[in-house]
């Protein structure tokens, strides 16, 4: 990738042969190529990094409590350019630390949980692990007992080959390629106590991934073709929680111009709420944020352009997003693109909304798991 600056980030590396990884409630869950699911406490792992004490303190802060970067006081302080430049320099000088793990705390055979298929996506939410595989979607409950983590008996939710999963607002959305978009509503029984059921076909149009536009669903039928589904939703009993989506229906007007037939030069589209990204075969990209009012897209709030290789996948973080290209993982912001990881990734995961691990990014590569926490998100609005 030509002339892109490296993003200042705290980076750590766990060698191993992994298919996927996820951080949930201070637990690192990895799926290995030996078809095992291994777990360890995330803070214990980070504290075992082979670096000096000063850097270990910084690493601990950035990887275990980087919510501090989003606090109002921190953000005000980092508006001081001398302070922010100094912190960026310090973070940039911190080399990727090697993590040393003698023994995983939890170990389980992959087949026991996920069957014969190959893992295509993994999500953990509300103490449930959902796996999208070549043989369908499987679910298991995570049972935390003191320091022990166990898994309940797996439940098969569909036999359809599942490319990606999206869990939010009480729904589970499974993008199952030519089998369409399969969904369940009130997945976590926040509105009623109905028992779990199979995933139902919410749309027969193909689906490779979904994202959200407010409470509404944006379905990507391919890398460039997109359609909108307007949701109906209800509040939960708990006023602190977001509404629960109860049904969706196709709405051509939801995305307006953003769903127009793909420009033949567009080779990848993505949206994070009202920010729309279009990448062109020339290598240029356009980033456009639209106003959102009363469930409708409005005028353009900002528009910027840049250059990068074609993304293979995209992942939201606060103040931008992370894109996997063929030979790097980059952080895309309004004004610039920075390299987070140089190399080919098998899986990229971001955790923008976790209580403590804001913007934690995991990159699974052939050599192991790269864990990183970028600083730049704290320096941008």
């Amino acid at each position: 990738m030509a002339n892109l600056a490296s993003a200042p980030a705290i980076r750590q590396f766990l060698p191993g042969s992994f298919e996927d990884a996820f951080v949930y409630m201070n637990t690192l869950v990895v799926v290995t190529t030996d078809r095992e699911i291994l777990t360890t406490r995330f803070d214990r792992l980070i504290h075992r990094s082979a670096i000096g004490r000063d850097s270990q303190l910084l690493a601990g802060l950035f990887l275990l409590r980087n919510d501090f970067l989003e606090e109002e006081g921190t953000r005000s302080m980092l508006k001081d350019s001398l302070l922010s430049e100094s912190l960026a320099r310090r973070v940039s000088q911190t080399e990727e630390a090697l993590l040393d793990l003698d023994e995983w705390e939890g170990r389980l055979g992959y087949e026991d949980l996920l069957g014969e298929g190959t893992l295509l996506d993994l999500q953990i939410y509300n103490q449930r692990l959902f796996a999208g595989t070549t043989h369908g979607v499987v679910q298991t409950n995570l049972l935390f007992e003191l320091d022990d983590l166990r898994f309940s008996a797996p439940i098969k939710r569909t036999d359809a080959r599942c490319l990606s999963l999206n869990i939010r607002y009480g729904t589970l959305a499974a993008s199952c390629g030519p089998d369409g978009l399969l969904m369940s509503f009130d997945e976590f029984s926040e509105l009623s106590n109905e028992p779990l059921s199979s995933l139902a076909v919410a749309s027969t149009t193909p689906s490779v991934r979904t994202s959200w536009l407010g409470y509404h669903i944006v379905n990507y039928e391919s890398a460039t073709s997109v359609s909108g589904f307007r949701s109906k939703y209800r509040p939960t009993k708990s006023s602190r929680k977001a509404n629960i989506v109860t049904e969706i229906s196709a709405d051509e007007g939801l995305l307006g111009a953003e769903s127009e037939p793909a420009d033949s030069d567009v080779d990848f589209r993505y949206n994070a709420h009202t920010t729309f990204f279009s990448h062109f075969s020339s290598g240029l990209f356009e980033l456009r944020r639209r106003r959102w009012s009363h469930g409708r897209l409005g005028q353009i709030e900002f528009q910027s352009f840049g250059e990068m290789s074609r993304p293979l996948s995209t992942h939201s973080i606060l103040h931008g997003f992370v894109a996997e290209t063929y030979d790097a993982v980059v952080q895309v912001e309004r004004e610039a693109v920075y390299v987070l990881y140089s190399g080919e990734a098998i899986v990229v995961r971001s955790f923008p909304y976790s209580q403590w691990y804001r913007n934690l990014i995991l990159v699974v590569a052939e050599d192991g798991l790269h864990i990183m926490s970028p600083l730049r998100t704290a320096l941008t609005d």
Partner: protein, 140 residues
């Protein structure tokens, strides 16, 4: 021995008796409004046939007799960045097979090889794990 005619370059037969044609309309510069995917010039008609022949020998096909190919571990073979080849079987099995660059990321299910073919490539070291998983997830 290859024979050039107005449709393409004809090869074969393969060890299993299949004939092949490298079609002219899947080559040359991309034309505006032409949806046909096109091979890169680095993939010569002979390369294209060699890819098909290897797939035929190894049985890298789906139930519909479409063969799937990859070159040099997954280098670009198509002008839009495609990295695999798709070689659909002819309606009349006496006719030649042909092929073109494919991408499940851009075209979805019709351009996605079966998991069994990808796993076979991985097992034989034809592609590495990164390429295999990306392809299975329709990212390339």
């Amino acid at each position: 021995m290859a024979i050039v005619d107005s449709s393409g370059v004809r090869f074969g037969s393969t060890a299993t008796g299949k004939h092949y044609i490298s079609l002219h309309y899947h080559r040359g510069p991309a034309a505006a409004g032409n949806p046909k995917s096109k091979w890169l010039s680095t993939v010569t008609p002979s390369n294209e046939y060699a890819m098909f022949e290897l797939a035929d020998t190894n049985g890298w096909a789906d139930a519909g007799s479409t063969y799937w190919t990859v070159k040099d571990g997954g280098t670009e073979v198509g002008q839009r960045g495609e990295r695999i080849g798709k070689h659909p079987g002819p309606t009349d099995l006496r006719d030649p097979w042909h092929g073109y660059p494919a991408s499940p990321s851009m075209k979805g299910a019709p351009d996605a090889p079966p998991d069994a073919v990808i796993e076979a490539w991985l097992k034989l070291g034809i592609v590495d794990r990164t390429f295999a998983r990306r392809l299975q997830r329709w990212r390339i």
